[in-house]
């Protein structure tokens, strides 16, 4: 029982990271129908920006988040405004797959050039602190991302549900022509969506960096895990992303504990495939998503 609880707890901690890492990917897919293959690259870029700032100013990694948000928001919004939108206009959603893939290669290569291909970590002051109660152990470095993740995903939820921008995002995702006829500047909404999603990826990157070693190569892993989270939780709501992320985390630690650590990825992909075959719209998703 103790082992089970500990594993569950570890899974939740890890799941928070997965959820936050996938939230931007999910937002872009939900609003625009674009699978942003550069998502992992933006996440890793965020990690390097955080690393750079926290090292050069010798400040706590978490304090770099506002700066990371600004940089990544700008990068994401410009990327959408000047590249992705143009691509979708000219070649459709499929062409955007290629362009985002191409951009992921560029980001990957530039990061490897400037920071080297080796793995790095962002060191926080609480990296080795932990909370213990009733024989259960929680590392603080993993608890912080979970808390930040829940807070930010709730914020995203309320932004989408209550704010004017959120309403416009939902409108554009459901009926793009009608959104334009309502006088919504859809291009602006899309650029903001991409900016917000990239800022979330950047924040996730910094948090990932405080927990796990990362390198330019890590981008692929985070893009793929975002896929899995979206498939588990559905693309249309932040709540779904949170659920999908937590499920993936628990699945991961449970597999490692009760089957073998070797099979964590196997099980992850198997679940991805089975979920798609059985419930393509995700656990909380909408049936309309299946034909996207």
């Amino acid at each position: 029982m103790h082992v089970f609880l500990q594993t569950l707890l570890d899974g939740l901690m890890l799941g928070g990271l997965y959820a936050l890492a996938a939230s931007g990917f999910s937002l872009i897919f939900g609003v625009m129908g674009i699978l942003n293959l550069a998502h992992g690259a933006f996440l890793v870029l965020g990690a390097y920006v955080g690393l750079q700032i926290s090292q050069s100013l010798s400040i706590e990694p978490i304090l770099t988040l506002p700066a990371v948000v600004v940089v990544l928001f700008a990068a994401g919004a410009l990327f959408q405004r000047y590249l992705v939108q143009l691509t979708v206009d000219r070649g459709g959603l499929v062409a955007s797959l290629l362009v985002t893939f191409g951009v992921s290669l560029i980001i990957h290569d530039l990061l490897a050039h400037f920071y080297g291909p080796g793995s790095r970590t962002i060191v926080s002051s609480y990296a080795y602190s932990r909370i213990e109660f009733g024989g259960l152990v929680i590392g603080l470095s993993r608890l912080v991302p979970l808390v930040v993740s829940i807070v930010l995903i709730l914020a995203l939820h309320f932004m989408l549900a209550r704010s004017r921008l959120g309403r416009e995002m939902r409108a554009a995702s459901q009926q793009i022509v009608a959104a334009r006829l309502c006088g919504i500047n859809v291009r602006r909404v899309f650029a903001l969506t991409f900016g917000i999603a990239s800022a979330y990826a950047g924040v996730a990157g910094v948090l990932v960096g405080t927990v796990l070693p990362f390198s330019p190569n890590s981008e692929t892993y985070w893009t793929i895990s975002a896929f899995v989270v979206v498939v588990l939780g559905g693309a249309k709501s932040p709540a779904g992303t949170l659920l999908g992320g937590l499920l993936l985390g628990i699945l991961n630690t449970m597999t490692a504990q009760f089957i073998s650590p070797l099979f964590t990825s196997t099980v992850m992909f198997l679940v991805l495939v089975l979920m798609l075959l059985v419930r393509p719209q995700g656990i909380l998703g909408h049936a309309a998503g299946a034909t996207r």
């Binding site: 000219r90 692929t220 498939v231």
Partner: protein, 329 residues
């Protein structure tokens, strides 16, 4: 390129079918005769081109014609490679060419059966969901081959040499991969020039309408999926023999899957010559032009993909056709 244009293109292709056969035969003869003057390096570049072209054409049967973009075709490449490699290690006593032939047959058969088994559930999904499920299947296949010792994926398998005595390996595999690519082109051309091609393109333009028109969409999709998988595994197993040593990481590469798509898009999707052009362009770019680039090679490739997609969304073939149309006017 709109659907109408594509259908228009089809009529052009079938309309000139005699000319296309002539071009194909001439190209084949030229490529078969080429090793007489090619250096071994150029033959290896040829091998890379045939490898990419075969894969891209095989992928295009499903992705280009039926509009089902698979992100995980490397699954069939990898399974084909491992089937061939494993089997060939049990066939020591038989002569090398027989080993080669049997391994190819086994790989193609295994992939055909596997594809047929998963085809129905997988093809119920559309668009991005189909793309992702295929990506997932590729990962599952790679993980299984890597994690169960019987497959030896994590340690790697040495594939026996099958090159006949006195023949240079690069020449042997130049011909082997040329043959594999030619089979991909011919099989795909035969399929799409008839009723199947029309059905697949109707599915691509509007699957629900196709269904209402009484087209047995499931049957055609499954046919395209299975044939596409078999052709992919054919290229994969020949590749395994040409490399001589395979590990999971060497054949289950996501970038192989992406290359198939990139070649198709660069050349012109929904055609047969398009992916072939794409393979030539991409291979020459990465292995000849950028061969000596020590840094920014990835970034350059990425930037080129972006530029081509933006400037030539219907591929190089589309550009050529557009230019030809302008000249005609």
């Amino acid at each position: 390129m709109t659907g109408l244009d594509r259908l228009d293109l089809r009529s052009k292709i079938t309309g000139n079918i005699g000319a296309w056969i002539a071009v194909g035969v001439i190209a084949l003869v030229v490529m078969a005769a080429a090793p007489a003057i090619l250096t071994p390096f150029q033959m290896r570049v040829g091998m890379s081109i045939f490898f990419s072209a075969g894969l891209a054409v095989a992928w295009g049967l499903l992705g280009g014609y039926a509009g089902y973009y698979s992100f995980g075709h490397t699954a069939f490449l990898g399974i084909g490679a491992f089937t061939g490699a494993l089997l060939s290690n049990y066939l020591h006593a038989v002569s090398p060419l027989v080993v080669f032939g049997l391994s190819i047959l086994a790989a193609v058969a295994v992939c055909g059966v596997l594809a047929a088994l998963i085809a129905y559930p997988v093809l119920r999904l559309r668009h991005s969901y189909f793309a992702i499920v295929m990506l997932g299947i590729a990962y599952v296949a790679a993980e299984v081959i890597n994690n169960f010792d019987w497959f030896q994926g994590s340690i790697g398998i040495v594939v026996p040499q099958v090159v006949p005595r006195g023949m240079r390996p690069e020449m042997f595999f130049y011909y082997a991969l040329l043959a594999a690519a030619a089979i991909c082109v011919v099989v795909t051309a035969l399929l799409v020039s008839g009723r199947v091609g029309y059905a697949l393109m109707t599915i691509r333009e509007d699957e629900d309408t196709a269904k209402m028109l009484g087209i047995a969409t499931e049957r055609y999709k499954i046919l395209a999926f299975v044939v596409s998988a078999m052709l992919t595994s054919l290229v994969g197993v020949v590749y395994a023999f040409s490399i001589g040593f395979i590990t999971t990481g060497a054949v289950f590469r996501t970038d192989f899957s992406l290359n198939m798509i990139v070649c198709s898009l660069i050349g012109g999707i929904g055609t047969i010559v398009g992916p072939v052009f794409g393979a030539i362009i991409l291979t020459v770019l990465t292995q000849v032009v950028l061969a000596d680039a020590l840094s920014f090679r990835l970034a350059t490739t990425g930037a080129l993909i972006v530029i081509i997609v933006l400037l030539a969304p219907s591929g190089v073939l589309g550009l050529v056709r557009g230019a030809a149309a302008r000249i005609r006017q």
